[in-house]
Amino acid sequence: MNETNETIDSATGTHSAAVDTHANDVIQPEHDVTRPGHWHRLRAGLSILFASRAAVVGLIIVLFWVSAAVLAPLLTPYTPLEQDWKAPNQGPSMAHPLGTDELGRDLWSRLIYGARVVLVILPISESVWLPGGTALWGVFVALVVGTTLGLVSGYFGGWLDEVVMRLLDAMMAVPIILLFLIIMAALGASAVNVVIAITIVGTPGIARLVRSLTLDIRTREYVRAAETRGENPFYIMFAEILPNARGPIIVDAMLRVGYAIFAMGTLGFLGLGLPPPSPDWGSMVAKGREFILEGSPWAALWPSVAIASLVVGLNLLADGLREESMRYQ
């Protein structure tokens, strides 16, 4: 147990920068320093954001969880694994602001370290982790795979398109919960496997979206021009088509982050998420559920509140942005 604690502590110093970049990405996707008009674009983007009250509320909720996750070690004197056998299943108190779970672990600490796994770090093994949360990685990998498939099948068309699309259709026909169950039961519980599951489930939808965008953009003059210049097809796909398709892809990705968190919580609740004793919101609810009727609802309540508020915040933000940007157009 000592080893794990040390890893988490030593991990904290470096990754706040990574999170900041990410937050910028979400608010201001077009942010690009090399272009002259980027100040103007940034201000236009922010004004879109602040024009919608829902988006602001969403942003505040999301920022709360992101900062709690980043600063987790500073916000609680406990580690998420520290057990206090004398105080199991307690309500909120001065020592434990949100109470303790059935093993006497501090719920506030488990909650914010749980947010960390979702939003800030992807634990690969006991001591190795990547910046960027498990849910974010899931969406990112799905985006890479789905975008590539969509571009290739939309741009080349023909039998390649037919094969890829029929396969994705078959995947979409399979109930998502079944995919989750089988994938996770086969791969076992770990953060990397959660990323794989989210990727497999997310890829078909992204690929279809990108394909339909590609079919449209392929007919534009600038693509024709690039083809006449004799550009490599992959250059055309990734440098000509993809940048012009980014708007809908980004909005879709934001909604997918919300869904990835939803999926991660659900997997955890079914016992298919992160292996115990990791602080995982879904599995905390699953464990705490057993003690509700015995009179200690806190262990189930707080992670439920956490995941509910985070997904609602993300959706408010995405919806608000989408509505306002559509109004501007």
């Binding site: 079944l178 994938i183 076992g188 919580g265 079914l270 016992g271 919806d319």
Partner: protein
């Protein structure tokens, strides 16, 4: 249209085939096996090997897949040289018997070096007799025999080996016996002949337990569906009537919240508020032998949870559709003609606005199934979802495959129904 339906049905079968193969392969590729899951970690290697062999799990995966799909009785009948018959006894147990040359059902047993035939009489009793003439010499110079044992396997006995067998009996534990065979081939009819096999976890036929589970899940989903649809369509139309009004804001933000919060969180909130705080209804579902509708008070919370999730989704779709219709030129024209407001809404707007939601709802069944699995786990409801989850965790392949096939049929089937309904309500679309 007929051609379209046939094509889609073929696609459904193809999807089922692909999914069933994928389930087999993925389950196979993953670590652990059903023996460890059922028997616990303290099982000896001999017990584990014996258990796996009796379930036919020592065979290669493609062979097990073929047996699962097409059955294994035809193969066993060829090895034994006699016809095989599946009987259902008065107590409801399934028994496999070989039919001997004179047309009587027979099974065998190995006692020492003697083959003992058990002949089934018409009244269900058995008569035993020594049946050593059936031994056949094998290429290795010994004597062996393919027959049917009394636990629904086709087995190969080898004379003089007297193998030890470990049998695990649910509820009473291990039993060691001698006279074991060299090789097992569990007898089943195969999925496409209507026999999903036995659960590896409980030893009971999958079909029986699946029927009860499916019924329970349908009760839950059906009640939720009946409540959600009219309510969500009505509220969605109401919200979309005037875009941006207070009513619209409240309904759409509320709908969004309920539809994006994970089912388990909604379930926990409802349990805490309704069952623990107000103490109105039980917070868990315990039916025992009873059917769900005999305890309606226990159904309230699961139905409510499902309702809230679905309500938000359908409401948002309906609202978006209504908003679009209200912006369209023909509604403006209707206004300018001087038609009364309610006439415009009921005659012109609502009918067109309902088109999109009805198909989207059908496509959403795929998601609804996920919701049902979670709700069943939250409330301990004995439905299909929980069965599927347990089967997946135990690697109970027969149960998992059967459940998976049902889910695929429901998912693909509802999409087909959605497409057909769409052509009926929207005559502009024709499928060929």
């Amino acid at each position: 249209m007929g051609k379209f339906i046939v094509r889609r049905l073929v696609l459904l079968l193809l999807t089922m085939l692909l999914v069933s193969m994928a389930v087999f392969l993925i389950t196979e590729a993953s670590p652990g096996n059903v023996a460890r899951n059922v028997l616990g970690a303290f099982v000896t290697p001999e017990q584990e090997a014996s258990f796996l062999a009796q379930l036919g799990l020592d065979k290669p995966v493609w062979q097990r897949y073929v047996h699962w799909l097409f059955g294994s009785d035809w193969k066993a009948a060829r090895k034994i040289g006699l016809r095989l018959k599946r009987l259902v006894t008065e107590k409801g147990f399934v028994e496999w018997w070989a039919i001997d040359e004179s047309g009587r059902p027979v099974r065998w047993k190995l006692q020492g070096d003697d083959l003992v035939a058990e002949l089934r009489q018409p009244d269900g009793k058995t008569v035993r007799k020594i049946d050593n003439r059936r031994w056949e010499s094998d290429p290795q110079g010994g004597w062996s025999f393919w027959g049917v044992d009394n636990a629904n396997h086709a087995v190969r006995w080898q004379k003089g080996t007297d193998r030890k067998v470990w049998t695990f009996i649910m509820g009473s534990g291990w039993k060691q016996s001698s006279g074991g065979p060299e090789e097992y081939l569990p007898l089943k009819k195969g999925f496409i002949r209507g026999d999903p096999g036995e659960s590896l976890r409980t030893g009971r036929p999958v079909g029986d337990s699946l029927y009860v589970r499916l019924r329970n899940s349908l009760v839950l989903a059906g009640i939720a569906f009946v409540i959600v649809m009219p309510l969500a369509l009505f509220l969605g139309l109401l919200a979309g009537l005037k875009e941006g009004s207070i009513r619209d804001r409240v309904l759409s933000v509320g709908g969004m919240m309920f539809s994006v919060i994970p089912e388990f969180a909604t379930g926990i909130f409802l349990i805490l508020i309704v069952a623990v705080w107000w103490q109105l209804v039980p917070g868990a579902t315990v039916f025992g032998e009873k059917a769900p509708w005999e305890r309606p008070d226990m159904l309230i919370l699961p139905v409510l949870t499902l309702t809230l999730i679905e309500l938000g989704y359908v409401l948002r779709i309906t609202r978006a559709s209504m908003v679009e219709v209200m912006r369209s030129p023909y509604i403006r024209t209707a206004y300018l003609k001087g038609l009364p407001y309610w006439r415009i809404i009921t005659k012109h707007a609502v009918r067109n606005a309902l088109m999109a939601p009805i198909t989207v709802i059908m496509l959403h069944v795929n998601w609804l199934m996920g919701g049902i699995v979670i709700v069943e786990v939250v409330f301990g409801y004995p439905g299909l979802g929980k069965y599927l989850l347990d089967s997946a965790l135990y690697k109970d392949i027969n149960a998992l495959e059967a459940g998976a096939m049902i889910l695929v049929i429901v998912a693909v089937g509802t999409q087909l129904v959605a497409d057909i309904i769409y052509t009926i309500i929207n005559p502009r679309i024709r499928y060929t």
